[in-house]
């Protein structure tokens, strides 16, 4: 059974994330009162980029970094339970997933660093500072859920929220859920916090030297990162879904919420983003953890 899971899960993840990419461009267009591209536009883009006659590289580290980035994302996808489908989760719990999520940014940072372009380096430094910003509340919220459930296994956490809506993480640890919801756009790299790949200021930041197949790897990694973060959010706070369909439905709702924010918000500076992430979300997450500790006693 788990062999099927190992093949199906990445395909499902790539399919869902590419579909989300198409939806995001369509919804953003409609919010801006224009028609926007067809839903399968990302497929067209990927075909065009793969079929290009020329690709430019900046050396071995540049190539290896991109392969590691997408490879890391695919590996992380295998460890996240999706509505009962969790092939490899016996080999890795939430801590392993948290640390596996380090691989893709590390790969991308290496590739962008090796791209010898100042815009890319500035993009990487912004991306890491933003990560430092949103990790603090995210970790506090994770620890709150883990101490509440008394386990570090994501499958157990998801199953514990299964029976009814009242058991959801959202209901049992509302402050932590709210804290993570506040920093979700930062984790997804959506508009208020997309200064790492800002086209206007730093010529699309880390992606400045990615063309052709490198851009495909980067785009797929970005899409998979969105899938991973939202899947984690659903598993932790929205009850993880009895079967795959309900899981995907919940992911769609969360993604749609993120999209609405993305379509209307201007981009903030990295200093402001760091201060914001360390102020309200961290406070909420801290309170959530204290509440869980006190209730746990």
């Amino acid at each position: 059974m788990w062999v099927v899971g190992i093949i199906a899960l990445p395909l499902l993840a790539i399919g869902v994330s590419v579909f989300f990419l198409g939806v995001s461009r369509k919804v953003t267009a409609r919010i801006q009162r224009r028609y926007g591209p067809p839903l399968y536009q990302p497929v067209i883009d990927v075909v065009k980029l793969l079929a290009q006659e020329e690709h430019v590289s900046h050396g071995m580290v540049f190539d290896a970094g991109m392969v590691l980035a997408l490879g890391g994302s695919l590996a992380t996808v295998l460890f996240i339970p999706v509505g009962g489908l969790h092939p490899l989760s016996a080999g890795g719990d939430l801590l392993v997933i948290l640390y596996l999520m380090l691989l893709p940014p590390l790969g991308l940072a290496l590739a962008a660093g090796a791209a010898e372009n100042p815009n890319a380096s500035i993009g990487v430094s912004r991306k890491l500072i933003l990560a430092l910003g949103y990790e603090v509340p995210f970790l506090l919220a994770l620890l709150a859920v883990m101490t509440q459930e008394g386990t570090t296994s994501l499958v157990a956490i998801a199953e514990a929220q299964q029976p009814s809506v009242l058991e959801w993480g959202l209901v049992r640890a509302p402050l932590s859920a709210l804290a993570v919801a506040l920093v979700l756009p930062a984790m997804l790299g959506l508009r208020p916090f997309d200064m790492a790949t800002a086209p206007q200021e730093i010529a699309s930041g880390t992606l400045v030297e990615f063309g052709g197949k490198y851009l495909v790897l980067a785009a797929l990694q970005g899409a998979l990162h969105t899938y991973i973060v939202i899947a984690l959010f659903v598993d932790l706070f929205l009850g993880g879904g009895a079967n795959v369909l309900t899981f995907l439905a919940k992911m769609g709702v969360v993604f749609f919420g993120g999209l609405l924010i993305n379509a209307v918000y201007p981009r903030v500076r990295i200093g402001q983003a760091l201060r914001f992430c360390w102020k309200w979300p961290t406070l909420l997450a801290l309170l959530g953890l204290v509440v869980v500790m006190v209730m746990g006693r």
Binding site: R25, A29, Q32, R33, R34, Y35, G36, P37, P38, Y40, Q41, I44, D45, V46, V47, K48, L49, L50, A51, Q52, E53, E54, H55, V56, P199, Q200, A203, S204, L207, V208, E209, F210, G211, G212, L215
Partner: protein, 195 residues
């Protein structure tokens, strides 16, 4: 996407991809760039055709040269064109790239864009309207289908012709030989840093 297109797509998915995902390099050369914002935003919405303004030449395959091209801008255009990845298409926008337009006798603007950079399509008019861009895009689709949008092939085949023209007008242009990756850029003697 109607049913009729399916066989054409299956015949050559590459052309299908190149047609409906023309990423324009957001490069403001001359006065024409003021026409681009309405094209890409809500009023005209170029994204319906798959045209998105991209920040870097590495990601773009459509190069819209808008308005008159002064000598200094020509240097930047040539370097950006070299940094774009094949297949790449150049569209001259406005009458100035065609034959110099109202600056036909100026000492500082070039008169025929296609002497220096291969051009696949022209949009005449002293600042054509956004609809003209969409017409140009649709024409480009047909050219791509027929395989006639081969500006990048012409550039590679008679590369010396283009290089000679470029060197005649910009003798000290630091330039990386296109397609060979070797660095022919000589450190420009005159590019003095502000003291």
């Amino acid at each position: 996407m109607d049913r009729a297109q399916i066989p054409k797509i299956l015949k050559s998915p590459a052309n299908w991809g190149r047609k409906y995902s023309l990423w324009a390099v957001y490069f403001c050369t001359g006065c024409g760039i003021i026409e681009i914002p309405p094209v890409v935003t809500s009023r005209w919405d170029a994204e319906r055709f798959g045209v998105i303004p991209m920040a870097t030449p590495r990601q773009g395959n459509l190069f819209l040269i808008t308005g008159y091209v002064s000598l200094k801008t020509l240097g930047a255009i040539i370097r950006t064109y070299d940094q774009m990845l094949n297949p790449k298409y150049v569209v001259g926008f406005g009458s100035c790239p065609v034959n110099g337009g109202m600056y036909w006798d100026s000492y500082n603007t070039i008169k025929h864009l296609d002497q220096y950079v291969p051009v696949d399509g022209w949009i005449s008019g002293c600042m054509p309207r956004p609809e003209a861009i969409f017409i140009a895009v649709t024409h480009l689709w047909t050219l791509i289908d027929k395989g006639l949008a081969d500006g990048y092939k012409r550039y590679k085949d008679n590369y010396d012709f283009y290089c000679a023209n470029q060197r005649r007008v910009l003798p000290h242009l630091p330039k990386f030989a296109c397609g060979t990756g070797t660095e022919t850029a000589t450190a420009p003697a005159t590019l003095r840093m502000p003291t």
